[in-house]
Symmetry: C2
Subunit: 464 residues, 2 copies
């Protein structure tokens, strides 16, 4: 029997090659053009789980993209770990900002990743982090190191709202029964400062459409005399924040969890350099809600951001037109206790109410999800913490993330179990951006750490 | 010798067919993809002028698209009419809103055009109206009815700012010497209410770019903590109008010509139905600067409109991204006495000054032009008025237009002559919009009216 370190040393290149093959399939769930690629990725994941030692693997059909389910039950009396991940990826555009094609992975060294990083859409979010669990399982089964039962549930719609998962989970509570849910779809502070995400923000994502005149108009003949949908849209959007960057939607903050001075002081201890942060983004200053630090603004506070806006003539040169319609995609990050459906309703009601005469407004909810918090006295968290101590040599810092994994609160509600977020990515990995990448060191360190989680979780479960 | 009415009755179908051939060439000057089509259109215009009876026609090279020049000098002692028009057209997008392909002309009847209208990009603006002059010349030369000299100057960059024309005119004052400039690139109130445009608005067209972080960011990890260029752009744009829809750029109104009560009362006499206006556009209310009527807002008052805006993810579905950049195309319609270069500078200075920390702003001027007014006691105006009385049976109404033909003020400055704007289009012709069209009746009525202008202008010039 080999140690995980020995096993990685021996199979390192194959682990990297297998991930690269997976990254070559453009599984963009948001764009119907990639439909077949998304389906092919599900098949590839199924095959990888079978190879890794699952007894039973199946492609579960859903109203949308299938969910890949796999399991290895060694003894029903033992605890069960449910691994969740997703095989779909964000759209790659703007393509022209990538240094290399997004679905033709290359390994390049960077300052933060001296051992090289794999550059490709989905490298970190989430194919790379999901695949760490497949390879960790391979090690445990090959070396008789699997101390408990394991189930995998890998979905294909995380980047578009996990609707089919929300349909699938309630129907399969038996199949999915578990003692803890393990997810690697978040990040850590730095390679020498491991952290475990204990909180996630919720999300409400909407699309708005402002319609003015029934056709595009000549801006000379009609300019100044009719409501210009683009001008109106900018006025409506800008009114959603006040001068302190508080969100102006009535009732928006009613249920926001306010952290105590102590909790905020605890957060403030996480190492953070505002200068390094600004330099990394090439901005002269940060920006956000008055009265909160940068790390608070992007974790414990709700936000409203326009993710896309379009209308009128956007081609080369000049066109003197007043567009008939203008559009925006707007998302709100929510904190624990904010109900995403309720916030979506509040937004819709408010946005429609501020439309001036002369335009019609349509608000279309895209998707959303609840925020989430894991208590650090939970044995799942304890097991993860010990696993990191084993492989990083330091105790990981519990950290609130600004991101959202809407299904985590769904799991708690439907499966009655807590989720442990062991993320091995870094903020600088550019997930959702051009040149997304995942450090080779991080990938292998994840594979190394995961088996220890299984060991300590099993031990702590016995004691419990 | 035939009367113009007889000549039209005989050649009507050919006149329509020739225009349709011209409309089939997609001469979109704003889009380099159509470069060859624009050049081919210049050649087609040259051929048509030769056929119509010009003695000398040439393609004059410029730094941009060529200017087609043609002339027929019957006696240097006689007055000379300079006809200006343009052979380029606006971009056709949004293509999908056209009922028929924009460059595959069709004739369809409409309520306003019971005798049919030609649907195609450029049908009215300006190929159709320009070609009326070519056919009127053909009649006059074929029937010995040309009472004076005529020159044609047809350019290919009117829709993108006429830069090459501004370069060409000062270099060719001799060649272009004239007693009056005749342009059909405007509209009239209705087929039974002819009007002549006596005023035009100026234009300043700029493109703005707001840059935040140096790459697209995950809105969960950075949302609320960095300036979102799209949110910032909407705030900046919306601040350009106050609650009364006055433009907030310092100095913007300093030189605006304020009309007297009497002039405004005179304007108010032009027949106008607010209900019909709203119904035609399918809007529940009009919108604009407080204290002014709809017809004042779109003619004697300056305006600021966003003509296009884009940034972030605009594809299908949802992408939770904070874009690195956001863009907008913004145009300002100016009134007589406002200097367009000065207004462009004021905009640039102001827009840059309101950029918040955390973003960088770039303002790129596209093009512009001065406003213009023609006094109605001018003999050119008088000749046009008599020509309309001859063919419409009523006296045309002098009217200020909200549109801009920047080069008109250039002509006055460089060639020292006044411009007469004999427009035969209607506001409902959807110029710059999908389904642009030009009434067959209007096209033929223009051809019928123009020769009378030549006759009366020559007569009035003798007397003068």
């Amino acid at each position: 029997m080999q140690t995980i370190q020995e096993y990685i040393a021996q199979h390192k290149q194959r682990f990297i090659d297998e991930l690269i093959d997976l990254l070559k399939i453009p599984s963009v769930s948001a764009d119907p053009a990639y439909n077949q690629d998304v389906l092919n990725t599900a098949d590839a994941v199924k095959a990888s789980l079978e190879k890794a030692g699952c007894d039973k693997v199946e492609i579960c059909e859903t109203p949308g993209y299938p969910i890949v389910y796999g399991e290895k039950i060694i003894d029903p009396a033992l605890p069960t770990v449910l691994v969740y991940g997703h095989y779909d990826v964000q759209p790659a555009d703007p393509i022209d900002l990538w240094d290399a094609p997004p679905f033709d992975p290359v390994i390049k060294k960077t300052d933060i990743h001296p051992e090289g990083a794999i550059f490709a859409r989905g490298a970190c979010d989430d194919k790379g982090q999901m695949y760490m669990h497949v390879k960790a399982l391979e090690y445990m089964t090959q070396n008789g190191q699997l101390p408990c039962n394991v189930k995998f549930m890998i979905e294909g719609e995380e980047e578009v709202g996990s609707e089919s998962l929300a349909w699938f989970v309630p129907k399969n509570k038996e199949k999915l029964a578990n003692d803890v849910i393990l997810i690697s779809d978040t990040g850590m502070i730095a390679n020498d400062i491991p952290s475990i995400t204990t909180g996630l923000r919720g999300l409400s994502y909407v699309e708005v459409e402002v319609t003015g005149p029934n056709r595009d108009l000549h801006s000379g003949l009609y300019g100044g005399a009719v409501a210009n949908p683009i001008n109106v849209l900018t006025k409506m959007i800008s009114s959603l924040h006040d001068e302190n960057n508080h969100i102006t939607i009535p009732g928006f903050y009613d249920k926001v969890e306010e952290l105590s001075k102590e909790e905020r002081a605890e957060m403030a201890k996480a190492p953070f350099s505002l200068e390094a942060y600004k330099n990394a983004l090439d901005i002269d200053d940060v920006y956000g809600e008055a009265g909160y630090s940068t790390n608070e603004r992007n974790s414990i506070r709700p936000t409203l951001d326009v993710n896309g806006i379009w209308g009128g003539y956007t081609g080369e040169g000049a066109k003197t037109v007043i567009a008939s319609k203008a559009y925006a995609k707007i998302s709100m990050r929510l904190v624990p206790n904010q109900e995403w459906e309720e916030i979506t309703e509040l937004f819709k009601k408010h946005f429609e109410s501020i439309a001036p005469a002369g335009v019609r407004v349509k608000v279309t909810p895209h998707h959303g999800g609840q925020g989430y918090v894991t208590p650090i006295d939970n044995i799942g968290y304890q097991a993860a913490s010990k696993a990191y101590q084993e492989t990083f040599g330091v105790t990981p810092i519990p950290q609130r993330s600004g991101g959202s994994i809407p299904i985590v609160s769904l799991f708690e509600q439907e499966l009655k179990s807590k989720t442990i977020l062991m993320g091995f990515g870094l903020n600088s990995d550019a997930i959702h951006s051009p040149n997304e990448h995942f450090g080779v060191w991080n990938y292998l360190k994840g594979i190394e750490t995961i088996p220890f989680f299984y060991r300590y979780f099993s031990e702590l479960s016995e004691k419990a």
